[in-house]
Symmetry: C2
Subunit: 462 residues, 2 copies
């Protein structure tokens, strides 16, 4: 089976693949907003049908107590072949500010090589390429089943913290038994620099609600003599960092695995250009923890980030009040070997110790958080993935990490198998932002790499 | 003219007075929201017609370049009599959060003794009582004109910073010539403790807009390596106070007139009960500048207050972004002898010095602010007002200050006359908040005091 047959198959079927993906992207499966729960379910049903069309003998929608996941299994002919779990997600981020989208987030549109739409790359496009890749492998090789048993698990709560994921893994551990986990929810260094991700940050996020006076007060009559919840919120958030941009929670860095000299050398070898990075970040200046480079900050250092904040009068003109309430959304990115539940406790204690008398504070954690993960560079499944990627891209593949978070650590932990990443996203795909896109030809290369991967893993894993 | 005739007149005409006031309160004259400019004009026209019905020979709507004021003049028969300017305002505060109103803010309703509605006490009710008081004086005394020349000036931009007021005063200085200014836009210590206000804080307010990345960024991919405008806003606002709750702007306190020992003694003589005050403030604990009592903080000390703050994701669930923008509304209350324009410059400098590279800051000052004012306790016009109040309330009248702000300092400054305050509001009238109300019988006592005031001032001023 020369690689060019697989490549030709993917290109010949690009149009139908695109049409299918667009259909899926039209479904607004935003898991963060309870109003869209029905759409997440519709997305799961669409995907289940797509697995059936691809030929998977077993396709199931798995209820989680929250939003549904999709499970699809295709056993290898050889009963002694290894099994591989493939992970992705079919839910998407919210879309506001809606007015910044050039075309509707759920009206996907191909402009040139770019396919625009919420979920185009995160993560529907990267789940979809596996279906094309598997058809390419089977059609061009004449086989009726993959060389390893494939077990796809595509969840519907990744963008809202995967709150039922770990329990589902534990419940279905037997049916998800495997020798390796392939995660397709990440990106590469660049279109000309294919890379494989070896680690992700973990995350935990919360809403903070501060309540002061029971009514909005006239700031003339009362201002200066009662605590203002917006002012207290500002102090609470500002106090999270010291002037070196280190997080001030006592003991926060105790579990952080320090970057080794070797890791810092490898990161420094990547063709990094700060001006380019800033352009991708649509930003004018780097900023962050003293003593670390931008890549180190994003990949290997924890953060505390304010994602949203509101309270008081937000309309036109002025309204001179001491407001009753202040709200904020805060998320922590954490790195190996931090535990999200430890961070949760540290922050709860900090809030309780920081708010003055007269202010009531409530911290609502959305989930128990997502653990960080790191894959060793000598992991055999990682080497197999590297070969598959190199065949598809016709060039050397390097390694990166990702600053984002997913339930990968749970996969490794519960399933007891190494996790590798196969993803073709780019840094400027605007995931989680308006005008998310995917470079469509990269999805075809991703399909090609996926087609090669199962033989590579069969060879490696036996 | 025994006082009881005036009192009886006010009580006999209470029903018609209430009906008139309700009609006026139905007009949503919110000057802070440009969408309501037409309603502010309608309010001015209603008031002009009410002055005409009262018998004022000269009634004019004065254009200001912004929202209209109402001028009404009634000369004394004696051409050598003194002239008095009476100041109030016919615009009102915004009404959100609307859902907290028990009845519509512009559907006034008398429940027991309380009249609910936006503007009931701030300030339509307190302008209206003058019309009833003047009719009471004329009808019960059989005179055809007041004993002093009355010049009412009722502006339409007080709740949005009186941005055209000073220019109007300067332009119309000749027609506003007077020996005293009576301001009816304040309150009393309590229903059982009638008081006269002798000073008000000044104020200046602004919007702050911080811009970071040009798009909302994924907080995993970029978090920790670019400045987050919400985080910078939190630091900027938190940094405005030190741990003694003193404002940190360098030189901010240079022009503050310190409280004298005598003033602090007088304040301490008022029947102040902290638990009651907190109940009125719907708050659980006092808070503020070290070394000052609650009344001193509110009346005689400057503040920096966050009135509103917003940015990033504010919907349900989470959205892990580094947001593009952060916004806040900040107001400073200032005291004699601070200048709002000095505060403006100090804050502009502070913002420019505080925001890091990568964040663009804009501070938009709504107006040039409002000056603070203080009336000396031995001022003859104040003594005349005290007598009128004591006749209406049948008891001793004490002195307070107000923490709120109005254009009183401009009146004193431009017109070159002492300013005295005649107001019957109460601390728990919920001005600027949902469910604003006035204790209706107090408006009738206010009318009575207004009826006595013109003879008292004629005697004092000659």
């Amino acid at each position: 089976m020369p690689d060019s047959d697989v490549r030709r198959y993917c290109q010949d079927h690009a149009e139908a693949f695109l049409a299918d993906l667009i259909e899926w992207l039209r479904i607004p499966s935003m898991s963060g907003d309870p109003a869209y729960a029905g759409e997440v379910r519709r997305s799961a049903e669409w995907l289940a049908e797509a697995f059936r069309r691809t030929g998977f003998p077993t396709v199931e929608i798995w209820e989680t107590g929250g939003l549904p996941a999709v499970f699809a299994e295709w056993p290898a002919d050889d009963a002694s072949a290894s099994a591989v779990v493939v992970y992705g997600h079919h839910d998407v981020q919210p879309v506001d500010p809606l007015e910044l989208w050039q075309t509707g987030p759920f009206e996907p549109e191909l402009r040139g090589e770019e396919l625009f739409g919420r979920g185009a790359v995160d993560d529907k496009g990267q789940v979809a390429f596996h279906l094309l890749g598997l058809r390419a492998l089977l059609e061009t090789s004449g086989r009726s089943a993959p060389p390893v048993t494939l077990r796809f698990l595509v969840e519907g709560e990744e963008e809202s913290g995967s709150r039922n994921f770990r329990a589902m893994l534990q419940r279905e551990r037997a049916r998800l038994a495997c020798e390796a986990v392939v995660v397709s929810d990440t990106g590469m260094w660049g279109r000309e620099t294919p890379t494989i991700c070896t680690g992700m940050r973990g995350m935990i996020e919360c809403d903070i609600d501060l309540h002061g006076p029971d009514i909005d007060l006239h700031s003339g009559s009362f201002g200066g003599a009662v605590p203002n919840p917006l002012d207290v919120m500002a102090g609470l958030l500002a106090g999270l960092h010291d002037d070196q941009r280190r997080i001030t929670l006592p003991g926060f860095y105790d579990d952080v695995r320090p970057l080794s000299d070797r890791e810092r050398e490898l990161i420094a070898k990547l063709p990094y250009d700060e001006a380019e990075w800033l352009a991708t970040a649509a930003s004018r200046a780097p900023y962050g923890e003293s003593g670390y480079s931008t890549l180190e900050r994003v990949w290997a250092r924890p953060t505390a980030e304010v994602n949203g904040m509101w309270g008081g009068y937000m309309g036109p003109g002025g309204k001179t009040i001491v407001p009753s309430d202040a709200h904020a959304k805060v998320s922590f990115r954490i790195v190996a070997d931090q535990d999200p539940l430890t961070v949760k406790k540290l922050f709860d204690d900090y809030v309780a110790a920081t708010v003055p008398a007269g202010i009531t504070a409530a911290v609502d954690w959305h989930t128990d958080g997502v653990r960080p993960c790191l894959t060793p560079l000598d992991e055999p499944a990682l080497l197999a993935t590297t070969r598959a990627m190199e065949r598809a891209f016709d060039r050397e593949v390097l390694y990166t990490r990702e600053g984002g978070s997913g339930p990968e650590a749970d996969l490794a932990d519960v399933l007891g198998a190494p996790v590798v990443f196969l993803g073709v996203g780019l840094p400027d795909d605007r995931i989680h932002a308006p005008n998310e896109r995917v470079v469509f030809p990269l999805l075809l290369v991703g399909a090609e790499a996926a087609a090669y991967l199962w033989d590579e893993l069969a060879t490696t894993l036996g």
